[in-house]
Amino acid sequence: MDAAALTLSVKLAGFTTAILLALGLPLAWWLATSRWRAKFLVEAVVSLPLVLPPTVLGFYLLVGLGTRSPAGRLFEAVAGHPFPFSFSGLLVASVLYSLPFAVQPFAAALAAVDRQLIEASHTLGVSPAATFLKVALPLAWPGVLAGAVLTFAHTLGEFGVVLMVGGNIPGRTRTLSVAIFDHVEALEYPAAHATAGLLLAVSFAVLALVYALQRRSLFRWNER
């Protein structure tokens, strides 16, 4: 099995999950609590990667963040290298591509937190941000964990966006799924089996964990 590809995929999935926890939780909290009328537009944008072919997302990222676009030049100035065929380029693409896998479970879990508990916290003098940390997050954490785990697994197995944005540079942008593609093209079936089997096992374990977490009996205060 391609150890470099495995390391790269795990690293990519880990960073993507961390970034989506940091960005996705505030976004999900806003989606769960906002009464803004045009909120549905934001919800639609967040869910777009679910239905969009990865090639479309990858194509627009290449065009939008390519070396010739202003955003691309900004990326280059900040990251120190061009967007395409780089790890940080992959990271940006993965964060966008996995956005709904993080934000949707986060928002569902946060929306299920009793509104009165939030209001009780506010009347007790606690700021909205502190209320989020002290009340909403502890009560929503099964959903937050599920979202994080799904994000990790989804990023681990992503293929189309990676190939479009990152290409196939061993050690830099060659992830597990790209490695499998290479193996199959080269008719190296035993190597493809090993990698594919690993992804299958990990994916099943992850989903089993997510569903186990959602069994309410694990969280005693959710019992009614």
């Binding site: 009165q116 508990l117 209001e119 009780a120 916290s121 003098g125 502890p138 009560l139």
Partner: protein, 367 residues
């Protein structure tokens, strides 16, 4: 200067009637105010506006000289800085925190030892000291209410709001706590507003009654005064004055007023003259103040003796609601014991006896 709460809360809804509730009262002389009205009258809207959880569409709220809300000037003080304690109907205890953490949740800025001392003090006062390490799910509803009260009062709020505080309790607990709650609130020494639709609760808990009907405050006054002297028929009906009889002025005699109930066989009723009666008026009599005597009754000092026939008998807990046709339909609330002793039954002839002081004449307003 007198400390007062003044509010004018305007909220418009896409569906349902608008709320435009305004009132003002002093904070020190009657600490417990009951905001009373049927469901849908806007009580919760007013309460949430006072707590700062909702921003009214217009109006203003001033508490003890501080402006909490002013629609014209765009002032809105968030709930965090109003120092208002709120006890929710279902108590809204944080389910993932122990009783001690719930009670201490709103305490900040003091040292850990201070906070712990305050929690212990509040727990002692509200009788939950031995429950501090429990989780809310392990408490009875009565215990939850006391924890919710302790939590709301721990940060020393300047105003306490209670939303239907007894309605989430089962009947026996409610009976028990109704008496207890007033004592706890009095002891807390914080002006409180208690929202309820239950008139027994209003009588049991309030010093002052504010009656909210269809989004508007109709009357504010001492509880007994509002009950015995409602300013209009809507208030009379809302506070449970069972008998609101449309009448016409007949004559005035010696500070008394005689009215005749409108209708073919409408009887005359003698009442104390409230002033302002022109022609039409409502004669309001509480069911508790209608005495029933079998047959023609016997002599007494009461001014009104109305012969009639029992039309209906309905058991209501320890009381029996007896409907008597005496030209108008009168409702009498008598104890079950008396009803049984007098063998009050449908079709029986009785005399309804009303003292003039029990008949409250409300001049009818024509809008």
């Amino acid at each position: 200067m007198e400390r007062t709460l003044t509010f004018d809360v305007v909220r418009r809804f896409a569906r349902g009637p608008a709320i435009a509730a305004r009132a003002s009262w002093a904070l020190q002389d009657a600490p417990l105010t009951v905001l009373f009205g049927p469901s849908g009258s806007g009580k919760t809207t007013v309460l949430r506006a006072l707590a700062g959880l909702d921003r009214p569409d217009a109006g203003s709220i001033t508490f003890d000289g501080a402006t909490w809300f002013d629609g014209d000037r765009g002032v809105f003080v968030p709930p965090q800085t109003r120092r208002v304690g709120l006890v929710f109907q279902e108590f809204a205890l944080f389910p993932h925190l122990s009783v001690a953490s719930n009670v201490g949740y709103g305490l900040r800025g003091s040292t850990r030892a201070d906070r712990r001392a305050r929690v212990a003090d509040m727990a002692e006062r509200f009788g939950v000291a031995d429950l501090l390490s429990r989780m809310p799910a392990q408490l009875s509803s009565g215990q939850r209410q006391r924890v919710a009260l302790a939590r709301a009062l721990a940060p020393r709020p300047q105003l306490l709001l209670l939303d239907e505080p007894l309605s989430a309790l089962d009947a026996p607990t409610r009976e028990l706590l109704r008496g207890e709650l007033r004592g706890l609130l009095e002891q807390a020494g914080v002006p409180a507003i208690i929202v309820t639709h239950d008139r027994i609760e209003a009588l049991a808990l309030g010093d002052r009654l504010a009656v909210l009907l269809d989004g508007a405050i109709h009357q504010v006054g001492p509880v007994h005064e509002v009950f015995s002297a409602p300013v209009d028929a809507e208030v009379a009906r809302a506070v449970g004055t069972e008998n609101v009889v449309p009448s016409r002025l007949v004559r005035r005699v010696d500070g008394l007023v005689v009215v005749r109930a409108i209708g073919a066989r409408g009887p005359e009723l003698v009442a104390v003259d409230p002033g302002g009666v022109e022609d039409e008026a409502y004669a309001c009599v509480r069911g508790e103040e209608v005495l029933l005597e079998p047959g023609n009754g016997h002599a007494s000092s009461a001014q009104n003796r109305l012969r009639g026939v029992i039309e209906g008998r309905l058991e209501e807990g320890p009381l029996v609601r007896v409907t008597v046709d005496c030209g108008v339909r009168l409702v009498a609330l008598v104890t079950r014991h008396s009803a049984d002793r007098l063998e009050l039954g449908v079709g029986q002839g009785v005399t309804a006896v009303l003292k003039a002081q029990s008949v409250h004449i409300v001049p009818r307003r024509v809008r």
